[in-house]
Amino acid sequence: MNFNATLIGQLIAFTVFVAFCMKYVWPPLIGAIEERQKKIADGLAASDKATKDLELAKSSATDQVREAKVQASQIIDQAKKRANQLVEEETQKGHAEREKIIAQGYAEVEAEKNRVKEDLRKQVGLLAIAGAQRILAREIDADAQKDIVAKLVQEL
């Protein structure tokens, strides 16, 4: 054990080292550590919150989907009903139209028939007259029997 001035030298070195460490070494290091710890804690809290939010969003989304399904089935039901109704209406309208067209057709055919009948009558009359003319030509002048022919035509 020999104590000497080395003691004083070492004491000075120790003091200077501690002072330097306290002023320039410790603060930035511990500051970085503590700030990072805070950042990590904040991050963890944020992730917890996000998880909670996600759960909430999921449950609300499920609710909305269920509601939407109910609405959709309602809409489909309504649409089916309306479609049936439309089909029914159109069918009835079609029937009515058909009846009308058929009736019109009948009327036209009837009119045509009547016209043809009239034509036929005229031609049969003329034919009869022609026949009678030829018969009578041998015997009578046609003019003398004109009134009779007219009378006949009228009777037809």
Partner: protein
């Protein structure tokens, strides 16, 4: 050790510090300083401890300057690990608030640890290099060139640390308790009666002085003994290799432990000094 006449001489050589003093108006070294008394410097102790301390602080300072709060580099993570280790110990053991105590603990822990770790360097390496330099550069006998690089095997180092801590103990005691409180603590404990004041005073002063004394002697004793054993092992020929290995492995535990104990006791003593009764 071939160049030494006796084992005794070898051991003495390896346990002697390089001295420097002023003699006859000039600077003298080693054997010329035998009569210099107190005003002698152990240049090897001061040199290696200051070099180690400067390296440690420069390294930590550089990392601290570049420290990011984002993802740290591996070096920064390593430094932060040490800082956090010290900080945890300070927080768990020190009850007061002080900006000094944590940096103090960090400096003590890392500096003492690094000084202790020089104990693991082969005992002949630096004395041999110094001997060669002395012999060829200055024409000295290598046996007259001394170099003991482990600063904590020099009692001056450990006492300097302990005295620093002791001054802080007194300072904090006075600051927290005031002169009256501190005097009361020294005189009215453990037996709270005026009759026992001399008795209390003796006990408390012994307690107070035992703290730095035990701090420094524990560290010095451990390191001096381990260094001595390293040197003894080095004297026994080739058998020293496994023995050296075993002793060095053992010191992987002992050296950090001594640094840790020094730091913890410093924190605890200062915490006690800051406690109010």
């Amino acid at each position: 050790m071939a160049s030494y006449d006796t084992t005794q001489e070898y051991i003495n050589h390896h346990l002697t510090n390089a001295k420097m003093c002023t003699a006859d108006g000039g600077i003298a070294f080693n054997k010329a300083c035998a009569d210099a008394g107190f005003w002698t410097l152990h240049v090897d102790t001061i040199g290696s401890s200051v070099l180690i301390g400067v390296c440690f602080l420069y390294f930590f300072w550089r990392i601290g300057k570049k420290a990011t709060i984002g993802v740290p580099s591996k070096t920064q993570a390593f430094v932060e690990m040490i800082v956090e280790f010290v900080d945890d110990n300070v927080k768990s053991s020190f009850n007061g608030t002080s900006r000094l105590i944590a940096p103090l603990a960090l400096t003590i822990f890392v500096w003492v640890l690094l000084m202790n770790l020089t104990d693991l360097i082969p005992v002949d390496l630096f004395p041999w290099i110094a001997g060669l330099i002395g012999q060829y550069a200055f024409g000295m006998d290598p046996k007259d060139v001394y170099l003991k690089i482990v600063p904590t095997t020099d009692i001056n180092t450990t006492f300097a640390l302990a005295i620093g801590v002791f001054i802080l103990i007194i300072f904090y005691s006075l600051r927290v308790k005031g002169i009256k409180g501190f005097a009361k603590e020294l005189t009215m404990q453990p037996l709270n009666h005026w009759v026992f004041i001399p008795f209390n005073l003796v006990i408390e002063i012994v307690t107070l002085l035992a703290r730095p004394l035990s701090l420094s002697l524990r560290l010095f004793g451990n390191l001096y003994a381990s260094e001595l054993i390293f040197i003894l092992i080095a004297t026994i020929g080739y058998l020293q290799l496994p023995l050296h290995f075993a002793w060095a492995v053992f010191h992987i535990l002992v050296l950090p432990l001594q640094a840790f104990i020094f730091m913890m006791l410093t924190i605890v003593y200062l915490s006690l000094a800051c406690e109010e009764h």
